[in-house]
């Protein structure tokens, strides 16, 4: 599963991951492999990536949108701290 995290200023992250947890508007949710296509707006909070070796990476974002389609995730964040 591939994820791209971009802000208007730069690309923050691109790579393969096992799962990602994002702060959705209606509550935080996790995306695993073969997730149904979804578009959701995001709140301020942490995005937790788990890479194939099980290592966690955390980004703090301030609002954004996520699109998941065919194991490709695109996360547009307003800004990343």
């Amino acid at each position: 599963m591939r994820i791209e995290i971009v802000t208007p200023d730069k690309k923050i992250f691109e790579g393969d991951i096992k799962s990602v947890r994002v702060p959705g508007k209606k509550g935080s949710f996790q995306v695993l492999k073969d997730h149904a296509p979804i578009v959701s707006t995001l709140e301020t909070g942490s995005v937790i990536l788990v890479d194939p070796d099980g290592k966690e990476t955390i980004f703090e974002i301030e609002g954004g949108v996520i699109e998941v389609k065919a194991n490709k995730i695109i996360l547009l964040a307003d800004s990343v701290r």
Partner: protein, 294 residues
Amino acid sequence: MANLKAIRIRIASVKSTRQITSAMKMVSAAKLRKAQDKIVRLRPYANKLYEILVGLSQSLSDSEIDNAYGRVSAPDKVLLVVITSNRGLCGAFNANVIKEARRIVSEKYPDQFRKGNLQLLTIGKKGFDYFRKQSVKMLPEQNNLLNDLTFDNVSKVVDQLMKSFTSGEFDRVELIYNQFKNAAVQNLTYEVFLPVQSVTPGKEKIVPVDYIYEPTQEEIIKELIPKSLKIQFYKAVLDSFVAEHGARMTAMHKATDNATGMIKDLTLQYNKARQATITNQILEVVSGAEALRG
């Protein structure tokens, strides 16, 4: 024949000017590259956002979208955003924008101007310095934006603009800026920023995917429209910023070329003068010797 010393001093001074202009050209080239990178980095975000927006609006009709930024009314109160540069020495870059702004004020919005309903927001010191001396109402200038050009800073300004649009302080917000085409060419651009035109899907068909929308399509669209507005504004400022460095690079390149040509001419003049004096001196010696022989 001009005197030798004067020409020598002149050559030295032109040479040092050339050194400065060619250094400035190099600095601009480096800054141009850096600024262009910023645009390239913005592109994936802008494209994706646009794609999502188009996908959403395809399944919704315009009336379903409650869009506060699409309020179309008679343009009684107008805000012109004039984007120039903070520094000069970039050819006609700023003059073009100022001229266009003046033309729009006098041709398109003379009534609003007379009633004092036309306001300007200047980004860039050059535009600010010019319009400050005119009898135009101005919002506080945003010249610092260009010194630290990040999306965060720009979006603060756009937030304010959007707020004053929704509260009815302005009926129309328009942008005037230089769009970057290549290092030598800038396109003067005049576009409507608010009210937003509805998103019209281009020719490219986006295959409809059955998305889950969270929370709802309407709410997502409501949140995405301000975002895409910010992107549009940010892109305009970035474009102008890149164009500025392009224009300065070209202007400095021309100045360097002119200095080189001038040095060549002056050197020729100098050599001619030098030879003339030598000829004169020989003539004097020969005729002196001739007179002695008597």
